[in-house]
């Protein structure tokens, strides 16, 4: 549901804390690790399905920033960026500070029942360098509505004080030993899970009232590695905390760890399934059904100069008022068709409904069949056929959404001709000028780097499907170029020279392309692009997508020949060139889960595949992740071992309540290396087409009459 994705300096979640005024509480308390639990210890609890929690905590030398997502009703995962000050000697790099990215996963095996506690198993930092690594099995039982008691067994970090030999050793001697820091990070540390000594932990949570909650826990974590240089003092296994919940849903927690280390944390739980303003604040649609009044309207009255041209003028201005650009119009017998480009509505079914309403509110009374064709860059995608009398009958029906969907037809628009194309439909000239923010994460010297500048976007479309477009940026302030990180890549440095691009450029030509989108046949879409495709590469790109309108599955193929661009981001090229491309399969699993598999050759010439999974809420809020494995060995790849990342995309309308096709999106890659790097091309077809295919349109149909 996006056309213009914009990057925002804040991790999107943090931004939400400020603007989501209404609280969406889950009754969850989060630990310093940002996952449900007590102070540091996990409980067997989970959040409500789909919830997203963001937490920042600090005590002693530890600073942890976590986003946790309830992926499935029983499973949550989290991503954390953490800093430990002075863990190494002060003479070491970065003054001994260490920065770490880590992932957790938690699985609730059993729900709580009247007599049985909830039971869960979890892994903390199972993919990182392992400083925070631990595993646990935990049980939590509530007594009344205000008290919860938790007890569990932990390994790794959680096997400090009072540890004993691993009970799992009865299965195999292998469970006796746990290795430390064995790889470059990023690999699954399966060889260490539930290994080494174990220890018990436990605690109590007491909900004092709706606003305040008290915690007490027994923690076996001795902070052994930290205590050498950081001075953290764990004098006692008992930790205590008090949490206060503000009216707007923000949680503030103060706590004492180990008897002496005082800390604080802030957290917020977001429910993506709830727009900030349910239903939205956009204008009420006009009601339809007064055909007799339309019969005498000036534009339908030939005696007053009415006729098709006059109708078209009225139609065009009314569609424009609803954010729809009219590109073609035909009317004959009892049938009329509009071809429109949707510039406003993030829910495409709503755009279809608005267009049909404008037709029903404008066209002469004898027209009965209303066809709306959606075009993107002038390429027809799908058409929706509605009977005017159905709209009139069902617009106020309490089951109108289902009933109109049942009576509408959604068809492929490959055979749509350019008959009736408006004379002024082409050429189209679009410009946008405004600020931009570019970000760079996780540089240990400065974990959040950003550039702020101005951006100019131009597009010229002389005819349907053919677009010349460019994006130019001029950074005004920022510190991305201040980084001293140089590429230490063992393979072709296709991405790790980002800092050199920032340093050696002034005015940036981010892209400057010619692009042609077309319909080669039924259910088929084509795209050819050439020019400066992205900031670091230029060349030619061709893509074909097969996507039947009612299908959950789409298949695509893309081939590119590109050359690496000069660091000044102007017109020159370096010597490196490569043929890269992928075969892709896209699948809508239902329940909001979308999968994508891309197999092919990446920018550095490596062969492999990318697996992506997104959970997309019906309102367009999207959280997902991906990983790429290629024939570049983990050691050669470098830190992180392979490419992986998380992404969040929030429709602007989710935040503001006003319809918009703009989204706020952020991709988080723990580390950017050169293996598994994919070419960036604007307008990959699946993203352009999906929103207007049958599945997406019917998913959004609740807003058809909105």
């Amino acid at each position: 549901m996006q056309e213009r994705a914009t990057r925002i300096v804040y991790a999107a979640g943090l931004l939400l804390v400020g603007i989501t005024g209404a609280s969406s509480l889950s009754g969850q308390s989060l630990t310093t690790y940002g996952t449900p639990g007590l102070i540091e210890m996990p409980t067997a609890e989970v959040m409500n399905d789909g919830e997203l929690a963001v937490t920042a905590s600090a005590f002693g030398p530890n600073f942890r920033y976590t986003a946790a997502f309830q992926v499935l009703p029983r499973v949550y995962g989290s991503f954390r960026y953490s800093k430990i000050s002075n863990i190494g000697p002060s003479t070491a790099r970065l003054g001994g500070d260490t920065f770490d990215r880590s992932f957790d996963i938690h699985f609730q095996m059993l729900d709580e029942t009247k007599y049985r506690p909830a039971v869960a198993v979890g892994l903390r930092d199972f993919l990182g360098t392992g400083i925070l690594s631990s595993e646990y099995v935990v049980a939590t039982k509530s007594f009344g509505s205000n008290i919860e008691v938790t007890g569990g067994m932990g390994w790794g970090r959680l096997a400090g004080r009072g540890s004993f030999s691993n009970p799992l050793s009865i299965f195999s001697d292998k469970f006796d030993t746990r290795n430390k820091g064995s790889n470059t990070g990023g690999q699954l540390e399966t060889g260490n899970w539930f290994r080494g000594e174990a220890a018990l932990f436990g605690g109590v949570k007491w909900k004092i009232n709706d606003k305040a909650t008290f915690f007490a826990e027994y923690s076996p974590d001795l902070y052994t590695r930290e205590s050498v240089n950081t001075g953290i003092d764990i004098a006692s296994p008992l930790n205590f905390g008090l949490e206060y919940r503000f009216k707007n849903g923000v949680n503030l927690k103060g706590f004492v760890v180990g008897g002496k280390e005082v800390g604080a944390q802030l957290s917020y739980v977001i429910n993506p399934a709830k727009r900030r303003v349910p239903g939205g604040l956009e204008n009420a649609p006009r009601s339809v059904g007064q055909r007799n009044r339309l019969a005498i309207a000036d534009w339908n009255n030939s005696e007053k100069g009415g006729g098709k041209d006059a109708v078209q003028r009225v139609l065009k201005s009314r569609l424009a008022a609803d954010g729809l650009a009219l590109q073609g119009f035909t009317m004959s017998g009892t049938q009329a068709t509009v071809r429109v480009e949707n510039d406003r509505w993030d829910v495409e079914a709503q755009a279809a409904g608005r267009a049909a309403r404008v037709m029903a509110e404008t066209l002469p009374p004898e027209i009965e069949e209303l066809t709306v064709v959606f075009q993107s860059n002038g390429m027809p995608i799908s058409r929706i056929v509605t009977q005017r009398s159905d709209l009139e009958e069902l617009q106020f029906d309490y089951d109108g959404s289902w009933r109109t969907l049942a009576r509408a037809d959604i068809e492929d628009a490959h055979d749509e001709s350019r008959l009736g194309e408006l004379e002024d439909a082409f050429p189209v000239f679009e410009t946008s000028f405004g600020p931009y923010i570019a970000t760079s994460f996780f540089d240990p010297d400065s974990p959040l780097r950003a550039d702020l500048g101005v951006q100019l976007k131009l597009a010229y479309r002389p005819t349907a499907g053919l677009t010349f477009a460019g994006q130019f940026r001029y950074p005004l302030v920022g510190n991305i170029a201040d980084s001293d990180r140089v590429s230490n890549s063992l393979i072709e440095p296709v991405r790790t020279n980002a800092v050199r691009y920032a340093q050696q450029s002034d005015l940036e030509i981010n892209n400057l392309t010619a692009e042609y989108m077309f319909r080669p046949g039924k259910d088929l879409f084509g795209r050819v692009s050439a020019g400066y495709l992205e900031s670091m590469f230029g060349g030619v790109s061709a893509e074909l997508l097969w996507y039947p309108t009612s299908s959950r599955l789409a298949l695509g193929a893309e081939i590119n020949y590109v050359k690496q661009r000069d660091f000044d981001m102007l017109f020159g090229f370096q010597s490196y060139d490569v043929v890269t491309g992928h075969a892709s399969a896209y699948y809508d699993f239902g329940n909001g889960f979308f999968g994508q598999l891309d197999v092919g050759r990446y920018l550095a010439g490596d062969y492999g595949a990318t697996v992506s999974i997104d959970r997309e809420f019906n309102n367009g809020f999207k959280i997902g992740g991906y990983f790429t494995l290629t024939d570049v060995p983990f050691d050669t790849f470098g830190e992180g071992s392979f490419d992986k990342g998380l992404r969040v995309e929030i429709p602007l309308s989710w935040l503001t309540g006003k319809p918009s096709r703009t989204t706020v999106s952020q991709k988080i890659q723990p580390i950017t290396r050169d293996g598994g790097a994919r070419l960036i091309v604007e307008n990959r077809l699946y993203g352009v087409v999906r929103d207007y295919r049958g599945k997406e349109l019917s998913d959004g149909w609740a807003r058809y009459l909105r």
Binding site: V17, I19, G279, R286, G289
Partner: protein, 219 residues
């Protein structure tokens, strides 16, 4: 570092609490994301669709108060289709009214998408007491329609005289006490003894918006 984190978090939290700051944040987002959005009109100027109704002095007017927000406004009748009136507000939100009863809302921030009130209408207008069903469909925050059925007791509470802009009017007070599994509300209607039409009502528009009061008004 902790103080910095706390300060920025708290600043954001405070912004979240205040509605004018909300608008500021909205504008901030619009600028930061370079979203063209819809430009607000200059103060005192109506959008053309509403201005057309203002210009026609024969268009009926209704006074509306949203209790939970302490907001009130004057809505104009845009049109009537199949017995359902669309009353438009200057901010382009609208109420759908059928025989004086709330049938739907649009753009008020929480959506009563449509209601089937064919059963209670009869009892309320005729002044009878009895049980009826009513059906509501709401547009949820996840863009899905959720429908509920309410079982309602309609009762005649006797006559009273109310003062409206249109004058002092003798009315009959009708209440409609509704319950579903998880929600309950009581609507009150004042039916004119002169015309037999509802001239004032206090009706529930959903859990987020609460009660809306509507009254006949004059231009």
């Amino acid at each position: 570092m902790i103080t910095r984190v706390l300060a920025s978090f708290l600043a954001l939290a405070l912004l979240g609490a205040c509605s004018s700051a909300d608008r500021l944040v909205d504008r901030g987002i619009a600028i930061a994301t370079n979203d063209p959005g819809q430009k607000p009109l200059p103060k005192g100027q109506f959008p053309p669709r509403f201005a057309a109704l203002v210009a026609d002095t024969s268009v009926p007017l209704m006074v509306v108060t949203v209790e939970s927000r302490g907001q009130s406004g004057r809505l104009l009748l845009e049109n009537t289709v199949n017995g359902i009136e669309t009353w438009l507000s200057a901010d382009m939100s609208a109420l759908m009214i059928q025989n004086g009863m709330l049938q739907g809302t649009r753009g008020v921030g929480s959506e009563l998408f449509a209601a089937d009130i064919s059963e209670p209408i009869g009892l309320i207008l005729s002044g009878s007491t009895g049980y009826t069903d009513r059906f509501h469909s709401n547009l949820t925050g996840d863009d899905k329609i959720s429908t509920r059925t309410y079982r309602c007791l309609v009762e005649n509470k006797g006559p009273t005289v109310i003062n409206l802009e249109t004058g002092s009017i003798p009315t009959r007070v009708m209440t409609e006490d509704c319950k579903s599994l998880d929600q309950s509300f009581t609507n009150t209607y004042w039916v004119s003894s002169n015309t037999g039409a509802i001239v004032q009502a206090r009706q529930w528009a959903g859990s987020e918006l609460g009660y809306i009061k509507t009254q006949d008004g004059i231009r």
